[in-house]
Each structure stands twice: as C-alpha cells, then as structure tokens.
Symmetry: C2
Subunit: 240 residues, 2 copies
DNA sequence: CGCTAGCTTGACAGCCATCAATTGGTGTGG
DNA sequence: CCACACCAATTGATGGCTGTCAAGCTAGCG
C-alpha cells in the first residue's frame, strides 16, 4: 500500500490514508528498465508522468559539440518533471543510471487526482518547487564553487536526499555514479573528478568507491562544500 | 486594461477578456522602487506574489565567502517566483536592477484566481515551467560553455525574452546590466566579462554599451552561443 | 583467461582569476 | 564652474585551476 513515491510525497504534506492509497494505486503501470535506458528524449511530445520507484535516473542536455551536461538526478520517489506535460515539447532527455523500476501515470489520472485532492496538489507543487530550488543551487555551484567544493556539495545534497527517503544512514549510502557521470553533472572532466575524489579520500573526508559513498568527516565535508541544506526544504533538517 | 503582466501571460494561453481583466485588476497594489532595492531576502517568510511591471530585477544567492551568484533575471511581466509561497522560507534574495514598478498580489487573491479560472492556472503553470527550463539552460551554460559562448548565450536569451514582450526589435534592446552583474550571473569575473565583451565588439558581432544591446550579426552570435531557443517555449520562434 | 568499462596517473597547455593601475562618466558639494 | 568622490569600464602582467592528451591499471565478467 506504500512505495517510494508515496513516502516521498508524504514528506511534503500530511496525506491521509485515502490519498496514500490513491497515489499507490496510480503506480500500477510499472516498467523494469536496465541502466542507460531512455525515459524521455529531447523533442518528444510529453504524455505520461514518470515516477522512479527504484534506482536512479538523470536528466541531461547535449550540446552542439557533443558535450553532455547533466541537469538533475532523480532518486527513488522522484517525479520526472511533473507537469512538463503542459509544454509542447520536452527540452531535455532523461535516462536511467541504474537498473530501475519506473511507474508511468497517465496524464489524465494525474489531473483527476489534482482535481479531487487539494492536499495532493500541494504535495505536487512542493515537490516541483524543491526541484526548482535544487536547480538554482546547482547554478550557484557551477558558477561560484571550485571543483573540490562542487564535488563536496553534490555529495552532501545526494546524501541528504537519500537519507530523507530512508536510503542512507550512518553517513553512508549507495551512490551509483561513475566518475564520468559526475563529471558531466559538475561541469568538470572525468580526469579532474578523479583527482578531486582522491584528494578527498586522502584527506579522510569522504570516500566514493564501488558505487557507494562514505562520509568520514561530515562537518568537514559540509564546510568544504559551503553546504546549507535549507534549499532542500525538508521538514527534517541537519546534516551532521 | 492591460499591462506587461497580462501581455506576458497571454502568450502562454488564450485568455479571454474576463481573465485579462481579472489579472489587470489584481495588479492594483503598486510600488515604485529604485535600483538596488530588495523585494525578498533569503530567509523571509513568503507571502505576497510579486510581479515586475516595469524595469528589471534579479534573483541571487550569497556564498559563505561573500561571493554572489545571480540565478535569474526578471523582466517586465515576469513573476518573482510564483507559488514560492508554498514553501516555508525563501532560499534566495530578489533585488531590482533598475528603477522598477512592482505589483504585489496577495496570496489569497492568487489562489482565488486559480480556483476560478482553469485557463489562468494553466498560464501560471506554463510560466513556472518556462522559468524552470531557463534554469536548466543556465546550468548547461555554466557547466559546458566557455566564457564567450556563455556571454553570447545569455545575450540571445535576454534579447528573445525582450522581443517576446515587445521591448526589442531590429536586434536591439535595452540591457541595463553592468559588467559586474553580468559576471555574477555568468560565473565569471568582471575583468573577464569585459575582455569578452570587447572581443565580441571587435569582431563586430554584438555591442553592449550604455545599457543597451545591439546585435550586429545575429546568426554569428547564435552560432557562437550554440543557441537553440526551444527552451524558452515561446509560441513565436526564430532568432534571426 | 582475455575483454572492456571504469579508474588512475603524469606531463603539459590554456582559459580564466587575481592583482594592480588607469581612464571615463556621473553626481555632489563647494 | 570646478574639485572631488565614486562607480563602471578598461588594460596589462602573472599565476593557478582545470582541461587535454596519453598511457597504464584494475576489476568485473563472459
């Protein structure tokens, strides 16, 4: 009766059992996808709304010169651009980073839910606003943080997001990102990401290997990153 | 009976006269602000929704080290973060860049409009989605474009946005941004922005001086920028 | 046991930051 | 009308962070 999606939205508003059941029921159309599968490609006409139930995905854009910039990470429970359906064409692509199970909610059903349940509407809004807030925070990172700070900041963000959906504890969590993916997300080169990661490991601040993150010195990491989690607008705060 | 705000939203949905009148009527609470005035400061509790009727504003965040990163430009007709009211605290600041007149719509009135008029709801959504799309595009610029490309891309974006609200023509428009402001928006230093601007001028591609932009070779500028205006999701397309 | 994707390391180069100083334009006060 | 302050724009010199190129290395996997 509950899944990652329901739990995630519950964090954004006080949903009653009926609403939780409605959400869970909307997730009946499931797909198992391998890593590297596309949910949406740039230029597609939008129709269903996708929700990640298990696994990770990312949104990205390709530049004329072939370069790739990742613009968002999607974790279990996350929408893939709710309400993007209103626009005429998708302006970026979304692909899985791991094996993933994805629910596709028909647009009509989403709209019915919004009509029927104000509390769900609010939870959806909240979710979208948090996404927007994360985007803004990425702009700040890309514009004004150096490579070490940028890496540290992203690790803080992802750790907190994982913890908030119950997938992290003890400053440790799964982090299935190759250095190439990290580079494309951070606006760096894989080579440089590697160097930064090694330096953080050498300093015994954090370690990223075999697809999992271990934060050895949370306070130090947050300080390096200049991390202030407010932008995640979570009800539960705190990092250390 | 019409203002920049109404015209802007009309571009996002087919509003009838009643709806236009409702919007115009909502903008009765006006304020004249000088350049450099704050509409919202980080940490504020959100209440009214602000709309820029004349002049420019920008959203920004300050980093621990005192650096500033501008995360959005707001032009006449733009919302200042519609629906941010749902969150508990604002996570960034908004200030005017020029003398500006700003309308503040009480939150209750906004919600009443949404309840009463589905077409307005859709126009609001659209507007917010376009903002989000612009944020994503900024991430791409910051991450993967070099300084000249970044400057060129921003100029393309702002020119198109100005044109779409009827404030530009003949590849010329007002652009009241100091090189320091540009630097804070682009993640560069003022010194480097200056050099880039001079090189673009020397190449006779565009010229930015005395607060106005002149695009001498639109095609070349778009090519340098790798500009594809789709992300602005405008009904009227085309740059050249 | 070989293959392949991802990780690691070194050398070198270049873009952009930093520091410093000058110019120009505008508003203010004498 | 001029002196002055102040902000924005400009230019040069220098350095460092990060990109680029190239080559091994490791580990998982068929």
């Amino acid at each position: 009766m509950s899944n990652a999606f329901v739990r995630h939205l519950s964090g954004y508003g006080h949903l009653d059992d009926t609403e939780k059941a409605l959400l869970a029921g909307a997730c009946r159309n499931l797909r198992e996808l391998p890593a590297g599968a596309h949910l949406i490609r740039e230029g597609d006409e939008p129709d269903p709304v996708f929700v990640i139930l298990e696994g990770w995905a990312c949104g990205y854009k390709i530049l004329p010169d072939g370069g790739r910039q990742i613009i968002s990470f999607m974790l279990p429970g996350d929408f893939c651009d709710i309400h993007i359906a209103i626009l005429q064409a998708i302006d970026h692509s979304i692909m899985t980073l791991t094996k993933a199970t994805v629910a596709s909610l028909p647009r009509a059903e989403m709209e019915a839910l919004i009509q029927a349940r104000p509390m769900l509407t609010q939870a959806f809004w909240w979710s979208q606003l948090v996404d927007q807030s994360i985007s803004r925070s990425w702009i700040v990172s890309m514009g004004r943080r150096k490579s070490v700070e940028r890496v540290a900041h992203l690790m803080c963000e992802l750790y907190i997001r994982m913890r908030n959906i119950g997938l992290a504890s003890d400053h440790e969590c799964r982090m299935p990102l190759t250095q190439l993916v990290l580079a494309d997300a951070l606006g760096l080169t894989p080579v440089h990401v590697n160097r930064v990661l090694r330096s953080l490991k050498a300093a015994k601040v954090m370690e990223l290997s075999h697809g999992s993150l271990q934060i050895l010195e949370p306070e130090k990491l947050a300080q390096i990153a200049g991390f202030d989690g407010n932008y995640l607008h979570e009800r539960v705060h705190g990092f250390v």
